[in-house]
């Protein structure tokens, strides 16, 4: 839902969102979350709005290289920091190894949670939490999949971790 326009200058903030290597100057209602800024203002709709309460993980993005729920961050807090979304993972037409692994392992059905799963999985590998299936399940538990593709997601994270460049 779009945030209603406000004319009250006290409730507006001017900021820079550095998304996928590009700087975007924005003027936003202070209430705007990073998630809404990405989707409604920068039109990067790959990041999904599931619960908007920090429970489902569909909005997972990287903030200064760490995975976070974009619905739990005010855009104002992300001012000037490095943000990576699902749109920033591929190199042109070449998919990121983790994206390819999710396709190869059939790790989604409806696909709504998939961008968040992949963003979380990239960090899961980077953090070294892929020592066992149990380790992956524990460190991927913040991403819910209502289609319950969990076994395939675990396989995809393993495959992504085993890719030539370590899934990065």
């Amino acid at each position: 839902m779009a945030i209603p326009p406000t004319t009250d200058i006290a409730h507006v903030i001017e900021l820079t969102l550095n998304v996928n290597g590009s700087a975007h100057r924005c003027v936003l209602d202070t209430r705007t979350t990073l998630l809404d800024a990405l989707r409604e203002h920068l039109h990067l709709t790959g990041t999904k709005k599931g619960c908007n309460f920090g429970e489902c993980g569909a909005c997972t993005v990287h903030l200064d290289g760490q995975r976070v729920n974009a619905c739990m961050v005010l855009a104002a807090q992300a001012d000037g920091r490095a943000i990576t979304t699902i749109e920033g993972l591929s190199q042109g037409e070449t998919l990121h190894p983790m994206q390819q692994a999710f396709i190869d392992c059939d790790a989604f059905q409806c696909g709504f949670c998939t961008p968040g799963q992949i963003m979380s999985a990239v960090c899961c590998v980077r953090e070294g939490h892929t020592k066992s299936d149990a380790d992956i399940r524990e460190w991927m538990s913040g991403n819910l999949c209502r289609c319950s593709s969990y076994p395939q997601i675990v396989e995809a994270v393993k495959a992504g971790a085993g890719a030539p460049n370590g899934g990065q």
């Binding site: 006290a10 409730h11 903030i13 202070t30 309460f53 920090g54 961050v73 005010l74 807090q77």
Partner: protein, 334 residues
Amino acid sequence: MEPFTYARAGDVQDALKRFGERTALLAGGTELLNWMRLGIEHPAHIVDISRLQDLKGIESIPGGSGLRIGALATLNEVALHPRVANDFPALSEACLKAASAQLRNLASIGGNLLQRTRCPYFRSDEVLPCNRRVPGSGCAARHGINEKHAIFGWTDDCVAVQPSDPAIALSALEADIVIESPRGTRRVSAADFHTLPADDHGIRKHNVMDDDELITSIELPWAMPNSAYLKVRERESYEFAIASAAVGLELHGGVIRKARIALGSVAMRPWRLSGAERNLQGLAVASPDARRAIEQEFAAARALSNNAHKIAIARNAAWRALQLAAQRAEGGAA
């Protein structure tokens, strides 16, 4: 969410100066944003403290084995810090068993202590009887949905529980919460930080903090490598506890010298088993007498209409956490 102004504090003193009517401090944001969405809080001004580097460090306290943790250290930073993992395993485990990897990258250890109950009536987006939301409106959970509610320290006015995992470990590790205000610095023991519904602080308060106070750090007075946190929940990961137990232990030849036991999700504060802590001294850790010392504490437990199972779960969690800490003690001595 109602409109608010947004400003970043330059330092702690600046943050304290900005306190005023309807002003909220923003750290990790994982609670405040949801409170605002639900109408639990509606600040007119938000002061963002999340960039204050002074509040982020984790450092050894000189002259001993203690550790000072900055209030803005994230749960993942606390859990994975080598000194926490080695010397305070109960705290490391409690942090790792809280929330999800993503939330732990946002949530601060100081903010975690300020989280409020997960009671569904308190968190409802429609107005339901809850004395914490609307004073005098009653407690819908008293005879309603109360499977996850209190077995200790509740009143007819509120039967909720404090859901923090780290708070339980900090209580057993005898930590101090360091609090700053325009009046200076004060320390509150983690065991005394949260308040019960019958306390003088009033039912709407979750803790002893005044409106113009800020947590700056948490101090662990001495290393407690023989400590453990055990969390029982409906699923293995990313879920609040049915009950949990933190134990800090000093053991000599299998005999307890000192035990600190705190239960989680059974009351509005970490529930210390003070009687058992006294009675366990001098007992063999795995003995029937030790088991009895813990069980005696549960004579005071009072179940609600739907949560009698929590008494057995909490009792067993306390016993299992004690044995887990004992294994570490013996492993460490070997």
